[in-house]
């Protein structure tokens, strides 16, 4: 639909400058026109140079994925055209710098060439203003009110002074005049709608806000793509929230410091990506053994090893669920939206405190660095759970010493905090209730049961946080095709099942956000209620499919992809259609 519903992509070499900012500005401008936006970006792993792109999808209704085809493509250079033309809608619009001529241009599409570089360099003598020239032209071409961009420029550069603001507005106007000269042939345009109350945030930012809302007081991290911006945000902001951020020497130190802080009574977290998470694995086991609450956000990227640092994948699930020697209880949560990143982080802290266990958040590159318009977050409604603290006046020890690891029905034992009565040693060795090293056969059995018993509390977390389910069932209770999905792939699945329903296919989806412990009964019921069940995920081996099969004893059809970019809605839709055909044929 050409009015208010399309996908814009901006591509070019980062040496050209301003590619990502062009997209970010556009996203904000569209949001201020009362539309929903959803961005997706990839950037080169090189320090300078290499192709970057940002995609902005807009619509009047909620958006769950970044969109399959590019309707409006803005190319800074020829290489960008060559890369992005494969995703270009053959009836779309290309806006390009006419220092090059696009080859193999589809006759059905529209192309508007402008001398953007020349205008910025020669006419304005301000090469970095090229992106504003482009946005000016965009404004004229698609009726996006120029004032919206002007206000954005003031909001963005106001602090830098009038001169900077004026230079950018001049560039915007210059582009606008160029745009007006064009004889527009395409149908795409914007109609301003009433402003909606929306926040515009990225996934990683939402994790930071969620951590603060949950009461995070210590953050420790080490730079790694695509999690570094969480470290940077924490280094800037945690101190004025009365916390201590630490940039340490490696990821082992990061989780070590998190556990030390947790032991001393602070809520603490670290954020990393696959390689860093690998290094943390030994301490993950220690956290489980010593029963220390902690939160690890793993912003997944394509692996194994160094892999593709700037590309997206959902391939750390095995590591998150099974990583570590010995039997290591932990909770694994996966957000699927920017809003989800906020709430999942709150839940992660709550579950860590409730179960005195490590909690892993599995986000990924695409989710981390996309921005979305989301409804405002009501902080008043956030429930913050704190660990059960040992209080000698309430927890009588009958003259006995304090039992840090006292056996209990839930498996949780009240924890004492240094500086208060109830000293003990947090122990990585197997230990008895007092925390004293102990390798009696029955004791290891009993203590293993105690530690794993706590995971039942995680399954019951909805009792502590009304509204939390750990999964969401979309569509009918019974259908020919079911789709089980986790993480950032959930958005494409939601749109794909809508398309399939429109085509008369009987389909339902189960989005699982608590991956471990798994709500086994729900997943089993879902699989048993569907003809066939598809499980799409961005990894090679079908990691969640393995987990689901192992936990439920039921089969699913694994659908995997490792191209470094998220699923397209169409890909999942086609897979659903194929399964539906097979199911109906069998019937």
């Amino acid at each position: 639909m050409p009015v208010n519903e399309f996908v814009v992509r901006v591509g070019g070499d980062t040496l050209e400058g301003g590619i990502i900012r062009t997209g970010e500005f556009l996203a904000h401008a569209l949001a201020r026109c009362g539309l929903e936006v959803f961005t997706f970006r990839t950037y080169p792993a090189e320090i300078k140079g290499g192709q970057a792109m940002i995609q902005v999808r807009t619509a009047e209704r909620p958006i769950y994925s970044h969109g399959d085809d590019v309707d409006i493509l803005i190319c800074f250079d020829e290489e960008a055209w060559e890369i992005h033309r494969r995703d270009f809608n053959p009836y779309g619009v290309l806006i390009y710098d006419n220092k090059f001529q696009p080859r193999n241009f589809p006759g059905t599409a529209f192309a508007y060439g402008f001398p953007f570089s020349e205008i910025a360099k020669v006419r304005l003598r301000n090469p970095v203003s090229k992106n504003m020239v482009i946005l000016g032209a965009f404004s004229a071409l698609f009726s996006l009110p120029k004032e919206v961009f002007e206000q954005l420029i003031r909001d963005y550069w106001g602090r830098r002074g009038e001169k900077v603001v004026n230079a950018n507005i001049t560039a915007l106007n210059e582009g606008y005049e160029e745009g007006k000269k064009v004889e527009k042939e395409d149908q795409y345009r914007i109609e301003v709608r009433p402003m909606r109350d929306r926040l515009i945030l990225s996934g990683n930012e939402a994790i930071c806000y969620g951590a603060i809302a949950a009461g995070c007081k210590v953050f420790a991290g080490y730079p790694i793509t695509p999690a570094s911006d969480i470290l940077e945000w924490m280094m800037e902001h945690l101190p004025h929230f009365d916390g201590t951020p630490l940039q340490v020497e490696d990821e082992i130190a990061a989780i070590g410091a998190v556990l030390g802080a947790s032991f001393a009574g602070a809520k603490a977290m670290t954020a990393t990506s696959g390689p860093g998470f690998s290094l943390m694995t030994e301490f993950l086991g220690h956290a489980a053994m010593a029963e220390l609450p902690c939160v690890i956000a793993d912003i997944q990227r394509a692996g194994p090893s160094t892999g593709m640092p700037t590309k997206s994948e959902q391939s750390d699930l095995y590591q998150a669920v099974y990583g570590g020697h010995g039997d290591v209880p932990r909770v694994v949560l996966a957000p699927s939206t920017v809003q989800g990143c906020f709430y999942v982080t709150v839940h992660a802290f709550n579950l860590a405190e409730l179960c005195q266990s490590p909690v892993v958040i599995l986000s990924d590159q695409s989710l981390a660095h996309r921005t979305e318009t989301i409804p405002p977050i009501d902080l008043e409604k956030i429930i913050v759970i704190d660990r059960e603290i040992y209080d000698p006046t309430f927890h009588s020890e009958n003259g006995d010493s304090y039992r840090r690891y006292r056996l209990s029905e839930t498996g949780v034992s009240p924890m004492s905090i240094p500086g208060r009565q109830g000293s003990y040693t947090a122990e990585g060795l197997e230990h008895d209730e007092f925390g004293h090293p102990n390798w009696e056969p029955e004791n290891h059995m009993t203590m293993s049961e105690k530690r794993f018993r706590k995971l039942e509390l995680a399954i019951r977390y909805g009792e502590f946080y009304p509204g939390f389910e750990g999964f969401r069932w979309y569509g009918p209770r019974e259908a020919d095709v079911g789709v089980i999905v986790w993480g950032s792939t959930a958005g494409a699945v939601r749109e794909a099942i809508e398309l399939a329903e429109q085509d008369g296919i009987s389909v339902a989806a189960l989005h699982v956000s608590m991956l471990y412990p798994l709500h086994r009964e729900v997943v089993r019921r879902f699989i048993n209620s569907m003809g066939r069940v598809l499980l799409p995920e961005l990894n090679f081996t079908g990691q969640f499919a393995h987990l689901v099969r192992g936990e439920t004893g039921l089969d699913v059809v694994s659908y995997t992809k490792v191209t470094g970019v998220p699923f397209k809605v169409r890909e999942i839709y086609e897979a659903i259609k194929e399964l539906a055909r097979e199911t109906v044929a069998v019937r």
């Binding site: 806000y209 630490l246 340490v248 070590g256 556990l259 030390g260 001393a264 603490a268 240094p418 000293s423």
Partner: protein, 284 residues
Amino acid sequence: MAVSAEVREKYKSELKPIWCPGCGDFGVLTATFMALGNLGLNPEEVVIVSGIGCSGRFPAFTTAYGFHSLHGRTMPVALGVKAANPNLTVIAVGGDGDTLAIGGNHFMHACRRNINLAYLLLDNNLYALTKGQASPTSLPSQTTDSTPYGSYENYVEPCALAILYGATFVAREFSARARKLADVIAQAVQHPGFALVHILSPCVTFFDTYDLYKQQIKELPPDYDPTDMHLALQYSTDMENRWVGVLFKTYKPTFEERIQSIREKSMQRYQSVTLSDMLNRRRV
């Protein structure tokens, strides 16, 4: 100053040390009780963090809070404890493998951060808990089960390393001199900043160095100036005479002070901005 057995009892846990009779670590434990007694510290305000090895079992033998962490990882854990609550007294205990092999990286960064804690390096010149393999401080003359033909690596001297890494207090003592050791541990605990106490703590089972160190150790000359870094390096690296006492001492802002100043700067920059304000600023 001697401390009565009664005071020492206050810090002694119900667990009996698992160390071999005659192990140097007993001397360190007693000296630590004496130091804590002398300083009048409440065991519940003290956190003892350890790694893995014979020294790793140290915290459980005290009534202080303990954190028996992973091999080589005492420093990150101690850093986290201090980040969460700078008012706690933190004593880290590590062996020579803990500190200089698997945890060598953390040791460097802990020194340069100048975290306000005392680090007791219990050096027995080998891995004893795993029954006698070579460590970074194995002596050139020493053969072990893992170096049957002698060592093929050079000895690494922890005091000199700590000085160059940026530690602000570096001392050496011998575990057999409990009172002197207690005094130096007390000084290390009181020092504002990273304080290393390199303790020669013989392993009676796999490499008994009591006689060797009795011959080799020498107290620093009375006119020794611990603020002279070059002198400190020279005395630290002398392998003929193992000098004991406070080798090096200087003052730099501590980790805790720097964190406090960052917090003040951040408060100044963001005044009383709340999370709700920050979210509101992200409104479309």
